[in-house]
């Protein structure tokens, strides 16, 4: 006997993501799901961001990590609320994991919540967590071929941060080719070149966050 089904395989995750999204809408919090390879500089970017915007915005961070609290400890130094999710080997965060820690965060006064996903260019892009936007950090040392090798994460992201431009002179990374590939994949994506250690290019990123937070406040 044949039984008609027509159900989204990730439908259960999507339903919880919608619940998270409704909560963020109610509290008017802009939520960014930040993705990228291990070592691309996600946590360093967040450290910079917390230092630069903490007098201006009420921020919180959720740190996704396989086993450790190392990244959360780095963020906590900035006196910003930070929640840790350990996936115990899981390669991505999903909506139920985020929902579980949300109950322990004081959301009432928040403007901006950034979720650092598990370091991985593949899996996190498949799982909505209820975010307003996704972002990806790609570092120069990963190579300029990565956008076309991992198209989904670049397609899903509203902003791409090309990090570690300070070491461009020491690599064969072709910036023009990388920009061209990212533009082809996602013509209206926001693309910023930054160095988190030399503190360059970050103003564009802060302005993007400010505009998103303002839009969410309505």
């Amino acid at each position: 006997m044949e039984v008609q089904v027509m159900q989204d395989i990730l439908g259960k995750n999507d339903r919880i993501a919608a619940e998270n999204q409704a909560l963020f809408a109610d509290k008017k919090i802009f939520v960014l799901n930040l993705m990228g390879s291990p070592g691309s500089g996600k946590t360093t970017l967040l450290e910079r961001t917390m230092a630069a915007l903490k007098d201006e915005l009420h921020m919180a961070v959720i740190e996704g990590d396989l086993f450790t609290t190392k990244d959360a400890d780095r963020i906590a130094k900035y006196a910003v609320p930070v929640m840790q999710i350990n996936t115990s080997g899981g390669c991505h965060l999903d909506a139920p994991m985020v929902q579980e820690v949300l109950s322990q965060l004081v959301l009432d006064r928040l403007d901006l919540l950034i979720v650092e996903n598990v370091g991985n260019l593949v899996c996190p892009a498949e799982f909505n967590i209820g975010e307003d936007a996704k972002g990806v950090v790609l570092s120069i040392t990963e190579g300029d071929d990565k956008p076309m090798k991992y198209p989904l994460v670049f397609k899903e992201s509203s902003i791409v941060l090309l990090n570690k431009v300070d070491i461009l002179p020491y690599t064969n990374f072709d910036m023009a080719a990388a920009r061209e590939d990212i533009h082809t994949l996602h013509p209206d994506v926001k693309l910023v070149e930054v160095s988190c250690v030399q503190d360059t290019g970050l103003k564009d990123w802060y302005d993007w966050l400010r505009a998103k937070v303002r839009a969410k406040k309505g």
């Binding site: 044949e2 089904v5 593949v122 899996c123 498949e126």
Partner: protein, 113 residues
């Protein structure tokens, strides 16, 4: 390796629909899989096989119905198969192509006894 999570999603849905139809055995599961669904099918089959052991879906075949990646131009409305992940409209050369098919990840049907 999110294919394990995908395999779990498939099994959940299949067991649910099998129970609703008083089925005792699931022989085949029809999947709709977009070209840009981001699922590695070999790894999905491997995960699924190990997951279904001891359930009524043990030995079930995954039948894949692949959906091409198709976009529609925001500027001129042209519809086209997207080649090499190039999302710039080949007709007008300006507009961005919005995906209208190719991201599907669904269970279409089951064959049960």
């Amino acid at each position: 390796m999110h294919e394990m999570a995908v395999a779990e999603g498939i099994l959940d849905i299949a067991l649910d629909y099998a129970a609703k139809n008083q089925a005792e055995k699931i022989g085949k599961i029809g999947l709709r899989l977009g070209e840009m669904a981001g699922v590695e099918t070999e790894s999905l089959e491997f995960c699924f096989e190990s997951l279904v052991k001891g359930t009524i879906a043990e030995g079930a075949e995954l039948a894949l119905h692949r959906m091409p990646l198709v976009g529609r131009c925001r500027k001129c409305g042209h519809e086209t198969h997207i080649e090499h992940y190039n999302f710039i409209c080949p007709a007008c050369g300006k507009g961005a192509l919005d995906i209208i098919s190719g991201r599907e990840l669904q269970v279409e049907y089951l064959e049960v006894d």
